[in-house]
């Protein structure tokens, strides 16, 4: 499953293009996001390179206790902060016992306290079994779900190795929409052989389902997945990049027309429905990450938990925290991340703000000559204090970044 965004009621993302001065502040004082990783799945999907594992049985009590301890460790490192979002990602966190979810949410509130409009998201599989738990998860405090619908076509779902069918997925979506205030779902497109017309039809259907947020990912063949093996064997031929570009442009056109414009490369939302949690990543806010393989960014440190569930559990027993690596990020590294992550957003970045935060002069941050060159190509633009990658540029972001980012 994908750790994916969804709408947050209070995520105060204003249309930034009109007035950059009110654009999503770079970071508010004591705000903090919390990521909780549940690493287990019933089966591993052929495209997925996330830290997910299939295990015969999970000792639920032990896992709850361990996650609570890992969170307590983060709380001691981050006193006096206020949580603006919690995200349960995986793996398949909809397989977690609702009681565990409830216990973790309660503990988080005890450690830090919640912002009044806190967004608490959980990734869920759109199966009937899991849909049956949605009410309990809602009662546990989840106010947003992100459903791994992935497609509205049964053949595509089979190709993607998903256990659910379209009918089951749509039923789960309906249940979710009833149980939670905000719902997002993911679709994977630009599958081999997918035509422009077929994708437009599916997306139109998806938009009609009425969620305030959509995560629309082009299929990426990630190393170390079954798809990568098939591609290497020539049994899977990824979509032609030019065709994929056509699909991307069609996606932007349809979602914009429907009032869910892209606010990030693959994420679309009605204004105000953006994922507050994921915005923290893209805007370089602080976040704590607990559970196997979870990443954190706090006090200029980058933390990574042990990836393998057993190793993480063993570390918990040994150290009472699951941290495998704790690196101090140099100002250059922090500034680089701010550019790499921030330029994914339609709102772009405020170089002066990043300069102020990292102590690195804007001239060292951004290659002005490259910006000028890319501006003439219409791929980037400077809007008052902000530097943005344009609609046309977003499809080429990975080629643009090495040119624009001067440091590193």
């Amino acid at each position: 499953m994908n750790p994916s965004p969804g709408p947050g009621r209070g995520a105060a993302l204003r249309e930034n293009r009109g007035d950059p001065s009110t654009a999503l502040g770079e970071r508010q004082g004591g705000d903090l996001a919390l990521y909780i990783h549940w690493p287990f799945c019933v089966s591993k999907c052929p495209y997925c390179d996330f830290n997910s594992h299939v295990r015969a049985g999970v000792d639920e009590d032990r896992w709850r206790a361990a996650l609570l301890s890992d969170m307590a460790h983060e709380a001691t490192s981050l006193p006096g902060r206020r949580l603006t979002s919690i995200f349960f990602g995986g793996g398949t966190p909809s397989l977690m016992p609702p009681a565990t979810v409830a216990a973790l949410i309660a503990a988080a509130e005890r450690h830090w306290g919640f912002a009044p409009d806190i967004e608490i998201t959980l990734e869920a599989n759109p199966s009937s079994v899991e849909a049956a738990r949605f009410a309990d998860l809602g009662a546990a405090g989840i106010n947003r779900v992100s459903l791994g619908l992935q497609s509205l076509d049964d053949d595509a779902l089979a190709f993607l190795g998903r256990a659910h069918g379209v009918a089951e997925g749509l039923a789960a979506l309906e249940t979710a929409q009833a149980a939670f205030a905000r719902v997002n779902f993911d679709l994977i497109y630009a599958l081999p052989g997918q035509s422009l017309a077929a994708w437009q039809a599916m997306l139109t259907h998806a938009i009609g389902l009425g969620t305030g947020h959509l995560s629309l990912y082009q299929l990426t063949i990630e190393p170390g997945t079954r798809f990568a093996t098939l591609a290497a064997q020539g049994k899977l031929v990824p979509a032609d990049p030019d065709h994929a570009a056509d699909l991307f442009e069609a996606t932007r056109a349809l979602t914009t027309a429907a009032g869910l414009p892209a606010y990030e490369v693959s994420n679309h939302a009605r204004p105000g429905e953006e994922s507050r949690h994921n915005l923290t990543y893209w805007r370089q806010g602080d976040y704590a990450g607990i559970g196997p393989g979870a990443h954190g960014r706090r006090h200029g440190h980058a933390t990574i938990r042990h990836r393998k569930p057993e190793n993480w559990l063993a570390a918990m027993d040994r150290n009472a925290h699951g941290i495998a690596e704790d690196d101090i990020l140099t100002p250059e590294a922090r500034a680089t991340e701010a550019l790499l992550m921030g330029l994914r957003l339609a709102e772009g970045i405020d170089p002066a703000a990043i300069a102020a935060r990292t102590g690195i002069a804007t001239a060292r941050l951004v290659d002005a000559a490259a910006v000028a060159r890319l501006e003439t190509l219409g791929l980037v633009a400077q809007r008052r204090d902000r530097l943005i990658v344009t609609e046309a540029g977003m499809l080429l972001l990975d080629a643009i970044l090495p040119q624009v980012v001067a440091i590193g």
Binding site: P3, Y217, G296, L340, L397, D398, A399, L401
Partner: protein, 606 residues
Amino acid sequence: MSKASTPLDRIRNFSIIAHIDHGKSTLADRLIQRTGGLTDREMSAQVLDNMDIEKERGITIKAQTVRLNYRAKDGLDYELSLMDTPGHVDFAYEVSRSLAACEGALLVVDAAQGVEAQTLANVYQSIEHDHEIVPVINKIDLPAAEPDKVKKEIEDIIGISAEDAVLASAKSGIGIDEVLEAIVTRIPPPKGDREAPLKAMLVDSWYDPYLGVVILVRVVEGVLRKGQEIKFMATGTRHLVDRVGCMRPKIEQLTELAAGEIGFITAQIKEVSQTAVGDTITDAKKPTAEALPGFKTVQPVVFCGLFPVDAADFEKLRDSLYKLRLNDASFSFEAESSAALGFGFRCGFLGLLHLEIIQERLTREYDLDLITTAPSVVYKIQLAHGKGELDLHNPADMPDVMQIASIDEPWIEATIYVPDEYLGSLLKLCQDRRGIQKNLTYVSGRAQITYELPLNEVVFDFYDRLKSISRGYASFDYHQIGYREGDLVKMSIMVNAEPVDALSMIVHRSTAETRGRGMCERLKDLIPRHLFKIPVQAAIGGKVIARETIAAMRKDVTAKCYGGDASRKRKLLDKQKEGKKRMREYGSVQIPQEAFIAALRMGDEG
């Protein structure tokens, strides 16, 4: 220290002529083994070919000798010197000197393959040296062996009697004694007055890390002794002989080498470039009146640029070239700089194989990652207004057309052997390369063609095309036949309207368009798409003769990037920036070095 020299009538000096793979080295090994030069344990396969490249390619680069002691059926002991000659036309001069040191040759022909063109060239040279040639039909135990057919071929094609050809299988040890007897009975002993002043030929030389420069000599008259002061007649230098010996193939020191004998000397010489192959060695105090005939200085005929992929390796490349030159005076180099490729060297070689050998040795033995520019030949430019002649080694140095009266290019005469079924394609290839057919004969299912060809058409992938057309069955041999005027032009390649110096080349006007189109098409595939569209053009002067366009890139974006991906993205960016260092920029187009390497690679233009 060993005994003094052997009487002339007990000496036999011979070489082995054979096509690659026809078993020359195996036969040499058997002869060494049979005469006790090495124990079985010491015999590693193919003792004579010292270098890895020689072993792999089956080509001898440096002349080698082995002295064998053989008690013949007449009950007498003979001293046989086997001279292993360089086996490629690039080293034709060295071959001629090696052959000049012998009185006879074994002509080894594969019983299944028959006579090959390359063999012929050496046979003719051998005949020119008045050698007694003993045919040896090898691999007679192969199921496909047809010794009678091969005998007839030898008689038909070469015109020497094959009636008494020795039938052998070096691999299985069949006929080895017969070969040794034939050497003794059929090859004449050397002549030479041992009382006359010293006259010896410098056959070859190489650098040995322990001994310094080792010189292979054939004494023609007089005696060469340890402690003697000698003089190189062509180079004019004097040296004190500090070692005299022979190879068995292990080094054996001797007190002297007398007329008729082949052996080596060392004389505290530090660089091979101080020795010239074919030079006459004489006694400094009592010199001979006349030098040996046939000496000439060798000139490089094929040039290319060698550049380190990593600019930091420039000094290492320079040192490595110096070291290689210690052992091979026939290649030259001088510093060169290119906007595309940075600092490197313009190097001259005896031919394409020589180029490849040096390139491979630099890569393997010196661990260098190199870019080789398209090989070119030496053009003679007649300057306008009678301002003289200019040797052009590098297309980048070509003067403005207004200053050029005419351009001469080197031509070769090529002899090609090819099975009948490929003849049509082969003739077309030669015609396409501006060839002039001189001769065409058929012998038992195969054609022998003689063509005159411009060398610049040959250095450009001719050999590879030849091999692919004939599925490897054609063989090819050439020698230079002088310079001729040609309608030659400099073709520039422009990427995004900016010329790329490393890709410019001198071509015949008639082939410019084809070559230009080929290069543009290739670059179109090699240069990655950019954020804008890129024209790739071939031009002569200001006139564009071929054009391709690289479409703008449309999509390059990571679909998913969340908290856990920040570090990974940062590392990816570092990698991209590192990759950028291996790019060269032309008209704001980043061209990866790999693209240059691939565009310049010889031999794969269709």
